[in-house]
Symmetry: D2
């Protein structure tokens, strides 16, 4: 192993820069030449591969986004695109590749391995926490805290105006952000994929809350929820009670911002571990974390959709609504 | 003047609690009995008037919202409602009233003065900065900073994904938040009431920005903009260019959160000044700030819609877009 | 089990309020009467035991500190003090006690069990992460993030002025905060209990960094470090190089603030788990977390000093200094 | 006027980057060539003058510190140093110079004008708010808010532990930060240059606060206070009461961090106004703000020490302590 590259792919996640920094510096410290692939798989196909030195990654650990930029890439879905990407890596003399991204990026990494001989190591980075074999992903903790800050602000005005709020959070097919935010934000309910949809119970809770003059009632809705987005849920709730429900869709603010300590530490440890894995000649795996230990998981297992959110936690949220 | 009351009315604004604290403590220090009217004019009509002691307002200066709660009140629009409110104040033996709120609340205060003999002093508190006779209002600085934090987060992902974003901010009929956020956030354009709507110039800017691979392009849209909300503007822009425009509506998060230093200081100074004004027997005015000095403005002048946003500042934003 | 109480003890930690809320509401939902002991073991000795209802713990999940207050208590170190505390619990008819605090509080809980028959369950809450049998404690994640924000600010001015900074963080005998902050903050070195003290290597790093015009050099020092606090270390460093070293002692800001999502979720899950443990009749244990699972650990094992900080992580910090 | 330069000097202040961005882009938009002088007057003496294009200042408006870096420069205090700096500006063909800094930097700018014919325009940037002729300076609002966040955190633990805290804030000879922070933070007292030092009154307040079990008592001390720093004041207070007083020195964290909206807007408006002033041929002045209007002040008037802090505001703080 002499020349390795890192690519950040799919939706950007806070902490990706910490991972890039660790790959570059840990690789350099072990006498590897490190390169960056710009703009995800799109840049790989176009051969945008640049050398990265120790100084190029200074003062970035605290920045959201990714200095290598990212992009979603349709061309990579075709074998021709992947073949072209592999050819670019060969031309650049790359032996090992670190793919930093979410579920889709890991699936793409698996597909790339059919076209390219080098070692591939995945690093789970996604605000959605949508990979198996790891307790969590780079960026998830930051996204949850960003959403939580927003909830805290909304609670101030909800308390003052005695209103019910539906807040839609990100997560694509995963309800992980929704459940964490609901638990931490003191929400009275959460609607997310994989959880039982009990709008009736919610309606009856809101009725009794109003009767008891409970000040603020915040309900978290995952964007991927089967009941539809927050606006649809609001309409359904309003149909059952003469009470306006405010809706807030948090949107892209959940993706950016300075990463939390947890996201930076994860990015740093994963980045160094990915380099070590490549140096061990152990390709085709994703690094992950279990408790406090770094683990290696076959890419094929990592992309299995993780179990739906913990129903016990969801019940706890409702039980604590007071 | 022996017994005074404070009411917070309309949309809550961060810093209202600092004002309540100052009215209670400054009043008490000058041997006044201080009362709080709960839930705005609605609570006034219903006679929800409670005594407030020095300890009741401890540890609230840092909290968003209003401990007295607020509400929009339709009954107060009718003379009967106002008469009932005045009767409640008489029953409670109130001599002076501090009304803390935005433009609508000051108009209501003016109307109340036809029904009630006590002294009325307004305190401008509104995230919209929508009153004349004062440089700024309680809560405006906080709302601008909250929106700005959101813009900073969006910029991270916009940079990483090289995307254009339309961000809708609050402000009702006022473009004040939009212009401040655009200036502070390095936006490439701003659409707000009272500003010339030059979508063509925006389209041509975005075209050249894309040609030059300019990374992030953020445009701020005021909720009250004539061109319609952010979604309408996005559709209009997309019709002229083959490029997706992302939309984020910041919504109610702009209303809550711990107030900034400026909002707390303003709340504190205004609260104390309002008490002093009542003690001087100088009713029918709103306190305000001009530069660093507290001023008094007749309520009738305060409610005049302030001049539209500074077109020179809006031009500066576009000129600095780079 | 019919009547349970919760006490928060020792240094307060952000997330304690989430735990109090969960104990009260989860307990109430299972038909227990819940009480709060004010001001730690001091209040227990003085019999300050108050009933806590579901509404008493509303709108507190986002607040730092503890609504029950805390205190360090010297009287409890004597058997007479503990006997008195036990008598107070008997008088109040308490069957089960949840003790929320750090290492010292768990030791005190163990001692109390010799005087009192009720069930005792510990909840690890300490910014120092100083207990065995759990991956982490309530408040630790918040303290790390607070220190990290401070580091980010210092880095801005360090970069601008090209200066070296020593930043002292909390942690008493534990270097856990120091190592986490150094990893997440991109520090060039960390001095903490249990780590090898290599000032010479640090001096030589700073020399070469200056030669290379490396902009900012931040070194984290744990308050409990054997080399003495940050001021002593700075003097030692300055003796070896003609270069001023700035010192910042973060101090008590690390203890307060709105808890992070992780601290609130931990507080909530631990609180509910503590109630379940009492209901199971399983006293004399502390709840903890291993990976994503809640566990129960004998109190006697929990108070064993946890292993010193991970030397591999400390080496990683130095290796990534660039 | 064809070629202008900007230098940031003295202590860095958040918002300096917004000013650099505005000077470069507003200058470029008016067909000026813009240069940056690195590392303050030190870099000017050494001829570190680099061209700055529109793209060089992208994505910096949200960053603390200054991309041009700063330094304190002893050589500039001698005429030889200033002559050398002037020679460097002549060699680089600079016609106009924007000096962005605090009181010391403006004094240096005045001195430079004896050696150099070009136009000089000052921009007040200092966290200390230590210049006359302007309501405020770039960075002051950010520093106050940063200190305030720290106070809010300390209050959490002070409330929980029922302790008195002395918090030392920055400001050099100015008490401006101290008074603003005390007002906004609900402090019970403030000790700052130019204010009457009434330790006796403070002692008696703390005694009665303890008697009344007032939870938290926070006192703000300016670093430049005649009574000595916070540690000296604490010793003096402790000598009069059997009660420990905790001390926190906020230090350099007050200098960094993402600038607030107010600091960015001020930096932006001042930067553009400085360019306009140079284009008008109006050198020897500092731009400032009065209320909402930009003004121009002779440099000789700007450097006059501003009046000491408003004693009325200091009295208000004490009056509201409750």
């Amino acid at each position: 192993m002499e020349r390795i590259a890192i690519v950040t792919s799919g939706g950007d996640a806070p902490g990706m820069n910490a991972c890039i920094r660790a790959v570059v510096r840990h690789g350099s410290a072990h006498d590897l030449q490190v390169f960056g692939v710009c703009r995800g798989y799109q840049g790989m196909i176009e051969g945008e591969i640049i050398p990265l030195g120790v100084r190029d990654v200074g003062n970035i650990i605290q920045r959201g986004g990714t200095i290598l930029r990212s992009a979603r890439c349709t061309a990579f879905r075709e074998p021709e695109g992947r073949e072209q990407a592999a050819a670019r890596l060969r031309t650049a003399g790359i032996d090992g590749l670190v793919v930093c991204g979410g579920n889709g990026s890991m699936q793409a990494a698996l597909q790339l391995s059919a076209h390219w001989d080098g070692g591939i190591v995945g690093v789970p980075a996604s605000i959605d926490n949508d990979l198996s074999g790891t307790d969590t992903t780079i960026g998830f903790d930051t996204a949850v805290n960003t959403a939580l800050e927003a909830i805290d602000r909304i609670r101030d005005t909800a308390e003052s105006q005695q209103r019910a709020f539906l807040v839609e959070v990100m997560g694509r097919k995963s309800g992980a952000i929704a459940v964490s935010v609901a638990l931490a934000g003191g929400a009275v309910g959460v609607l997310a994929p994989g959880l039982p949809q009990d709008l009736d119970a919610l309606v009856s809770f809101l009725h009794s809350a109003r009767a008891a003059r409970r000040a603020s009632n915040i309900i978290i809705v995952a964007e991927g929820d089967e009941a539809g987005g927050a606006f649809e849920v609001a309409r359904a709730l309003e149909a059952h009670m003469a009470m306006p429900i405010r809706v807030t869709v948090l949107g892209h603010i959940q993706r950016g911002g300075a990463p939390t300590a947890a996201s930076r530490i994860l990015g740093t440890r994963f980045g160094a571990a990915a380099v070590d894995t490549l140096r061990d000649g152990d390709g085709g795996v994703m690094v992950g974390i279990r408790g406090t230990e770094i683990v290696r998981v076959p890419l094929s297992e990592a992309v299995v959709e993780p179990p739906c959110v913990d129903a016990a936690l969801a019940r706890l949220i409702v039980g604590l609504a007071g």
